[in-house]
Subunit: 325 residues, 2 copies
């Protein structure tokens, strides 16, 4: 590399502590390892996700979007646990030390990091095919981490935000409306919703692989079945417009049910807590929408408003396509 | 991939908790994130290192060695902080789901993990060019983490183990003696030495880039100069034999001073604590050897036993070659 790893780290990633104002970082970037303090009454929640060029994002994705997304997908995992983001480490592998690329990457990443006061405390920059790994650390009051397990028959199924925007953008490529493209490139982790669901949701997962796939993961860990109301799936105005030009309803539902990359939360709430959950999330980014109910009978059944069953037809549904993240 | 990511993780990486016997893992592999408990009186120490095929290890390296080394280089960073290894996360990117490769990789990694009771608690498996990222987490009594900063003029400079074996193996390639090859492929992180140096060493760094380069990092953070006795550099029998066939002394010293990948510790101790440090480390893996002294005068001076100065001649010395790890 023209610039050494150390120079790259100093120039683009080693920022004053003041950027986040955290006082729990004992030692940040620059030693063999970082040192942090975890509050006595908290559990530590941690997750790691790797994004590979050409696999997890199109090669042409802007470095700003890659920087945002690499952190966002990990904050989304923390959100699904009800954890408050605290620190992250970063490993960037790139073919050459491209200062412009790194500056844009860092800009995208730190904008999101600063918003949630999550501090970069270490990692490395190495030479090789483009990929980015982020490990995020969050805090949750001891014993209060949300989980995939716990959904019981009768619990209502909710999703935050809207579904299918990212999938529609991927499908439409360069012709996608800017609002859809924005959802694909700059997903919003539902951190606030995750925090609000502590002590309330019976199960939570983030939707990285599509609602059907991720609801499937949630069912593996709790009661085994669910009914979804496809007419209730929340859609953005941009998604509805794109779907209208497509014509066929099944394409619309397929994308909303099976496309990944939305990074909304899917969660379940016992019937007697639903009003509280809806009230808590109403004022938060994304809000929430009830889309179905947990059932004791195994399998996921999709229904129309008139009670008729609806079967996903798209090729997008691959249960284990992409990730445990 | 022929096998899905989930199947790969279940088959090769999701093991019974009993393997490490840790009771501080609240939630391991299988949810959106892991949950662990950090003891109240401890700081959390964390580091992340990525190994890229063809950059950090030769393409022909055995998967068992890659599995070992990816964890070992991170445990070495924890050792340099005086931290006790606790948990790690793993991101493996590989071109295809090769069950034999993954089985050997996991075998190499878990042998080392089990030895130090460090538990794999999460991560992901993705498709792409071969690389491995590990994030390791360790614990240290609050405020007692060792650092690079702190060396003062008059402090003795020590290294653990022997230097140059890995560099000699890289240089000799397939003709390297098995003992040298073993040091390159299966480095021993000096965890026990790191723990023993708590409260005793004034500064510590692990030698991943070569003694001169890493001592240079240590000096950036403390007093600015050092004198090294090149005749005192500890060499293994295998290294001495290989150096003897090379003939030239300067090659021998160059490799010991500038080759990376040994993952020994370099540390400094105030004169009045040296006897204690030597005594503590005498019975531990690798032991330790005094190789020089910290000086107030900037720069690193290498000397022979007769007091003559010695100047590294090899091309191996690249100050910022590879890593902050």
């Amino acid at each position: 590399m023209a610039l050494s790893e150390f120079e790259l780290i100093r120039r683009f990633f080693d920022r004053p502590q003041a950027a986040t104002g955290r006082d729990d970082v004992v030692l940040g970037i620059g030693d063999d390892a970082a040192v942090v303090t975890v509050p006595e009454d908290c559990d530590l929640v941690l997750c790691m996700d790797t994004l590979v060029a050409g696999v997890h994002f199109p090669e042409a994705t802007s470095p700003e979007a890659i920087g945002h997304k690499a952190l966002a997908v990990n904050l989304s995992d923390l959100a699904a646990m009800g954890a408050e983001p605290a620190w992250f480490t970063l490993s960037v592998t790139l073919p050459a030390a491209d200062a412009d690329w790194l500056a844009a990457f860092a800009r995208g990443m730190f904008r999101l990091a600063d918003h949630y006061r999550v501090q970069l405390i270490g990692g490395d920059v190495t030479r090789g095919p483009l990929s980015v790994t982020v490990q995020a650390h969050g805090l949750v009051p001891r014993g209060e981490a949300l989980r995939r397990a716990g959904a019981a028959a009768g619990d209502r199924i909710y999703v935050t935000g809207t579904l299918g925007d990212a999938g529609m953008a991927l499908r439409q490529g360069v012709q996608a409306a800017p609002a859809l493209r924005q959802r694909l490139d700059f997903p919003s982790p539902r951190v606030e919703a995750g925090l609000a669901l502590r002590g309330l949701a019976s199960a939570v997962i983030d939707i990285s692989d599509g609602l059907l796939a991720d609801l499937g993961h949630l069912l593996e860990a709790g009661d085994p079945g669910a009914e979804l109301q496809v007419d209730a799936l929340p859609a953005s105005a941009g998604f509805a417009a794109a779907a209208a030009t497509n014509g066929a309803e099944n394409v619309h539902y397929d994308i909303a049910l099976t496309a990944g990359d939305d990074y909304e939360l899917c969660f379940t709430v016992p019937p007697d807590r639903c009003a509280e959950a809806e009230s808590r999330l109403a004022g938060l980014p994304g809000g929430c929408t009830v889309v179905g109910v947990i059932e004791a009978h195994p399998g996921i059944r999709c229904r129309r408003r008139d009670g008729s069953s609806w079967v996903p037809t798209g090729a997008g549904y691959q249960h284990f396509r992409n990730g445990n993240g």
